[in-house]
Symmetry: D2
């Protein structure tokens, strides 16, 4: 499997930045799940570029569901979502085929596809393909919400500015506040500072990265496998396929390196009815299996590789060192636009894990 993810519920992604249409197939989702096109529309809008910190390429993302939904409910058979590419620049992209952009996949695509790849706008590697992911994830999120499972992602840091952490006493409220935001932060003041930094980098022809933090509430305990399909394994597998992600950590993550066991262990407590842990340093996962606490993880988005500053590269035809001045439309940061993608990918993974554990009808 290459462009397919998932075992019980699977997702197959296709398309190129400048091809006719891009899309995704969702297979194995239970029948009878209500599909609200407005909610899909909302999530796609969250991913769309916005203002000075995004690319000027504007795509309406007018999705069509051409199979698998009947009378506004899932049928149980494959759902195909298509999104046309409308705002394709007709310019000459052939330069990209010869002068690989640093930090991009141009060179590795050449190594893998021997020059037959569609190099226009990054082709199949383009962040444009996260649009169908978001659309598919929106359907997955609707299914999960029916079971009381909610996902929220905020910008933890951007260009060195930090947001506050999730309020563990009011996570649902935090999640709700993020659900519709195009620039999802928990503290709007921090968000404003982030935008200032991003715009500053943009004005210098440069780009910035950041960290996204995600939480999930309502996941039942007992989901995941000790080897090799731990919840961390499956989630990281999916998350690392989002372009620009270079690190994923769960619970306290890399900070655990400097802790002692007596601090890092999450002790159990009960009210006589249910069991919880007093702390959540392990991000809701022990031994690869959910323990009923909120999932918590973070991932790093590297600074967008497309920058306007001149860079060194190699001319693949002449095999000579040369300079590259990237033109066109670019995002000085994609951290905020990646947030709904992380929400979507997380939802896809959880649907797969739940269907594998509880059967194909569970999410009905």
């Amino acid at each position: 499997m290459k462009n397919t993810f998932g075992q019980s519920v699977s997702f197959t992604l296709f398309g190129e930045s400048h091809g006719e249409e891009i899309g995704i197939i969702i297979d194995g989702l239970a029948p009878g799940i209500k599909v609200d096109n407005d909610y899909i529309r909302l999530q796609l809008d969250r991913r769309r570029p916005s203002g000075r910190i995004s690319t000027s390429r504007s795509e309406a993302d007018n999705f069509r569901i051409v199979s698998g939904v009947f009378n506004n409910r899932t049928t149980g058979t494959p759902i195909c979502i298509l999104i046309p590419n409308t705002n394709k620049k007709s310019g000459d992209y052939s330069k990209l085929a010869v002068l690989p952009r640093p930090g991009h996949a141009d060179y590795t695509a050449m190594c893998k596809y021997h020059g037959f790849q569609d190099y226009r706008g990054g082709g199949h590697f383009s962040g444009r393909l996260t649009a169908p992911l978001v659309a598919a994830g929106a359907i997955a999120r609707m299914a999960l919400a029916e079971k009381g499972i909610y996902i929220g992602t905020h910008i933890k840091t951007l260009a060195g500015k930090s947001d506050r952490s999730f309020d563990t006493e009011n996570i649902k409220s935090d999640i709700d506040s993020l659900a519709k935001s195009n620039f999802p932060v928990l503290d709007e003041k921090s968000g404003a500072e982030m935008r200032v930094e991003a715009e500053k980098a943009a004005s210098e022809g440069d780009s910035v990265g950041g960290i996204l933090e995600t939480t999930v509430i309502g996941m039942p305990a007992g989901v995941g496998e000790p080897w090799f399909d731990t919840v961390e394994s499956i989630l990281s597998h999916a998350l690392f396929s989002i372009p620009a992600v270079k690190g994923v950590e769960f619970g306290d993550g890399f900070a655990l390196a400097d802790m002692k066991g007596s601090t890092a262990n999450d002790c159990f407590t009960t009210d006589g009815k249910s069991i919880a842990t007093k702390t959540n340093h392990n991000g809701g996962i022990n031994g690869g299996i959910t323990n009923g606490m909120p999932l918590l993880f973070r991932l790093v988005i590297k600074p967008t590789p497309s920058i306007f500053k001149e860079q060194d590269t190699v001319n693949l035809n002449t095999m000579e060192n040369t300079k590259l001045q990237i033109e066109g439309r670019h995002d000085p940061t994609i951290v905020h636009r990646a947030a709904p993608v992380v929400d979507a990918v997380t939802a896809m993974v959880l649907c797969d894990l739940i269907a594998g554990r509880f059967g194909t009808d569970y999410l009905k």
Copy 2:
């Protein structure tokens, strides 16, 4: 697939800490690979406990290969490696079934297996199962070495003490120095400091964690998939199934969050024959695909959850809050013992990726 990893070359792990035998099946490895039992022995010894910073449980790890190797070479059919459990304590483990240890999988195993799990010594979740992983990885490493692909892992930090980084000018030499070490560091002085800290924590009935850093040289460019099987995806999937791993990062990883694109991008350069990047902030991977530079990644090992300090837990029978005093044999740190496991898992992943890309005979 649950306890099976890999598509073209796959690994199936089985056994419990106190069962009769543990083992692994390797399937899909090319025929004709030379199998040197001494090398397997060496790698297993690197994983064995050592001195005051390890458990007192001592297992000889007398492995047997009962299939798939004929005349000291792989046949191409499944290789089964078995390792008996000999040093099982005959004590009473039933307490563990009722009083889940914080930070361990005891509680989540109960949620998943409803009490039918073998709870003795962690059962199937035990770090003991990394022994067959190391044995299988040793065979994978022998195959890769024939193709000039070498893997090395060192302790980057332990209990707050840091090792030096890989010397990018002499990586092979660094890798060679790590290959036989039971406590793999690049700077022995740092290693001594780490051991002091670990012993100190042990004397307090506590435990410590750390960070492992791995590099791979010799990987051909053009391996991996843009979606969803990026090299980062597949590696992290496998690495997160190693017990106690809570974070994985590639290249500069989380540090990329605070960089600008003009720094993070790895510019291309050529000598007229081959192409390289001037820096390696992306850890040898662009767009999910290898670019021919050394792979570089780090993972965090949380402090061992088994500590002698008294901890809060819940009695699952009575559903009352209670205290737990863990007895038995434990590792105050497993960071150094995890290093050969990371080497092994990395080798397994690379064999799978390479066989999928170049066919089943490539590693012959």
Copy 3:
């Protein structure tokens, strides 16, 4: 995986008989394969209904390739082929949701999808979905032909009338004669008799079945696995998903039950350079692995379940026994239309097997 087939090269099918569009994703096919739209067109036309022995529903099958092909060659990334449904009857299909048709999937779909399935015209179970299979198979066949691998299928029997067998001395010539035929037989006189019988059954409001026989030449020896992915296993897996197939046999198949070993064994012979078998009772496969001889297999297509004769069924709403008079447009036989589908599915399987064995670039 549900609607996805294949490991190294995979195919994901989606759509419903009366949905907006149907289609298929091909993933993992080598980059650089020439894609000739006229050849796809030809194969789709072979599958289209023809004359009195087919349904009167006429679909133009105006396929579009919206991804994965660039400058008329495969890119190596997923190929999405879409085919619109244009000739949908606007009639009332709700009766089908209540009165399941004998021999169809109406009742089992209700058991599986709980009434949420798209029941119009058989929905996702419709033979209409074999159109994208044929389109995808056409691309696979173009790739195989470049390597000298050719596939041919003829109607061995239809309504009790038999075609001659493949001429083992001139298989390529036989294959060529079948390649463009809408009613593929090796002996046109037998074909005429078959059509007479089929039309006779049609005039009685009934339907007929038959047997298709397929051969493949040019397959390299050494492809397939002893357990569990024998060539027979993989081919039968794919072939049994073609609607109406109820049996698959290789070589002499069920006739082997009455043979002795001394007859059934295919003895080896050599001209000093290459090795062949004197006979081919095993259909080119020993121990699940190709031996370099032509593949040979047959499958049975049951008589089309849609007939005009009145039949017994149950009203699922009232749970009462009742009569069903099927209306609409039907095929009195689909045997001939299934032939290009079998060609296509066979080509898909072989591409997958070959890529797994020889790597992703082999078919380039």
Copy 4:
């Protein structure tokens, strides 16, 4: 996946005819299933050679379960079953490496494994590996029986002699009568005739084949997928990996080729509570999905390829035509010994299908 079968419940087979041990891993089976070693013993005994119509190689099949079973119940983690090879002939097998036996996998193994395969006694291709399949299937059958699902296989024909069909009014009684038989027929008189024919062929240095027929009662409706994982697809995939199987058919199978739709269709009927079909020409499967009727299928076992008659072959070293006189221990027929293997493989498939449909706890 090569030697692994199944998605939700999977089976990984390993070992060689003359290796140290052979075995199987069962993964994903629900926790809490009772494991009765006597029942496994019984099924293994049914597979053991018996009298003049079997090989003289006698293996005790003293299996050990070394993981995944605790207190006589499945734990939910991988079950490893090991069976030692004890009765290995120490003779010289190197001739087999040079003179491939007609009808065997010797030549194709050479093409695939380039001479590194373990050629002794057929190596990994040996029918000896069906012993672990039977042991694993026994556990699967115990799980299914708890849910009221029963499997029975009889010898439909052997050497031209036929058994009676299943009595559709008393299938459970027929299944029970087959459950313990070493030569499973429904009509003992026919069985006696079969044995006479088999012994006659044996006395001539030849071998015979036959047809096995299997039924399954108690399968819930609504299991299976339209594309590509039909119940027929999954079952045939598994069944074709049993050595010597060259054809599989469901319901009336190839006989459907000569039927009309009005006969082949199974009409529905109800008693007001449940729904059944009046006939079962489709073998309990419509559109690839179970309909609640008994499953019914047949497979052909070709005559054992090992015969004592002299045969033509090629010397692979000298590339010259030569004669081969097979020595050693052989089965003049394996049809009866294959029956418990078919039972076992069927049980494995059904556990996988059921776990995928209803979740991992369903069989608990």
